[in-house]
């Protein structure tokens, strides 16, 4: 019994600490994971404010030059999910808050990689490491951030292809 309690306590401690470390709220919607995770990993809704998501959703048939159009019912359901979980509603998560705070008044960014905070964080990386064929662009968070799918973007978990760990 004692060991059971200990295990439970330890597990919840581990859980709590990893929870505090997570940078953005996790992705919880299965339809979103399926539809918006088929061409790239499913970006956490907390990486953009709702105005930016809405703008992107209005143009899915020309989504960064690709056709990502959806059936009406899926479109409505995913739009709702993005709106309910966008960055400005989760300011208790570090990266959501930093992204929102970096925007100029009235600014609606085209993408996550075009937000001032994300631009600033990546400006010291050599261009050839970003454009190389294993990465292609900053959009490809998971190519460098090994824990991006666990909602963690800290620089200590970065591993750039053909370069290695990041040192400031």
């Amino acid at each position: 019994m004692k060991s059971l309690i200990l295990t439970v306590a330890l597990t919840s401690a581990v859980f709590a600490s990893s929870f505090n470390k997570s940078d953005v709220a996790p992705v919880t919607n299965e339809l979103y994971k399926k539809e918006c995770g088929s061409c790239h990993f499913a970006y956490q809704p907390g990486l953009l404010p709702s105005k930016a998501w809405n703008k992107m959703m209005l143009n899915l048939s020309n989504h960064f030059g690709s056709d990502a159009s959806l059936e009406e019912e899926d479109y409505l359901s995913i739009s709702r999910y993005l709106n309910n979980n966008s960055a400005e509603k989760f300011m208790n998560y570090k990266r959501s808050a930093k992204i929102v705070d970096s925007l100029r008044a009235g600014e609606i960014p085209e993408s996550i990689s075009k937000t001032p905070y994300i631009i600033k964080k990546h400006r010291d990386i050599k261009a050839s490491l970003i454009t190389q064929k294993e990465v292609k662009g900053i959009f490809n968070c998971t190519a460098c951030h090994t824990t991006a799918q666990k909602w963690i973007y800290g620089e200590s978990d970065v591993l750039i292809p053909n370069y290695g760990k990041w040192k400031d």
């Binding site: 061409c39 790239h40 048939s61 690709s66 056709d67 990502a68 159009s69 990465v135 292609k136 490809n140």
Partner: protein, 133 residues
């Protein structure tokens, strides 16, 4: 054991029928568009799949840019590097199991590669090619 076999055979029956059902609908449509239509063709489908075109992004691209030349193998998305599971239903039983999914990707992918939707004949030919690979 018998149960497993029954489940397996049910599965393959339902799998065959989704692709067949899709092709049957396309064949009816093709016939109404052109009374001389005499069936879909793997050879024409291969050319739909492997030929290069100026796509939606204004650059040369083909279906193989993302799905690779061997449809039984995992490939990489040409734009995003994300892995794509094999397109052939022989290697990947999840393929061609849902009409809505098939139509969605055929619509999107023709727009990306041909910068327009596929014709009935192109769609029927290319699907016939893929499911026989």
């Amino acid at each position: 054991m018998k149960l497993i076999i029954t489940i397996l055979s049910l599965f393959s029956i339902s799998f065959a029928s989704v692709a067949d059902e899709y092709l049957l609908t396309l064949a009816k449509q093709a016939k109404s568009e052109n009374p001389k239509f005499s069936g879909f063709d793997t050879k024409r489908g291969e050319s739909v799949f492997t030929s290069k075109h100026i796509g939606k992004k204004g650059k040369e691209i083909s279906c193989t840019s993302c799905h690779g030349n061997d449809l039984n193998k995992v490939s990489k998305n040409y734009f995003t590097t994300k892995e794509i599971e094999p397109l052939s239903p022989k290697a990947n039983p999840k393929r061609f199991s849902d009409i809505k999914t098939i139509e969605k990707w055929i619509r999107r992918n023709f727009n990306d590669v041909y910068n327009r939707e596929g014709t009935t004949l192109e769609k029927g030919d290319v699907v016939t090619y893929i499911i026989n690979k």
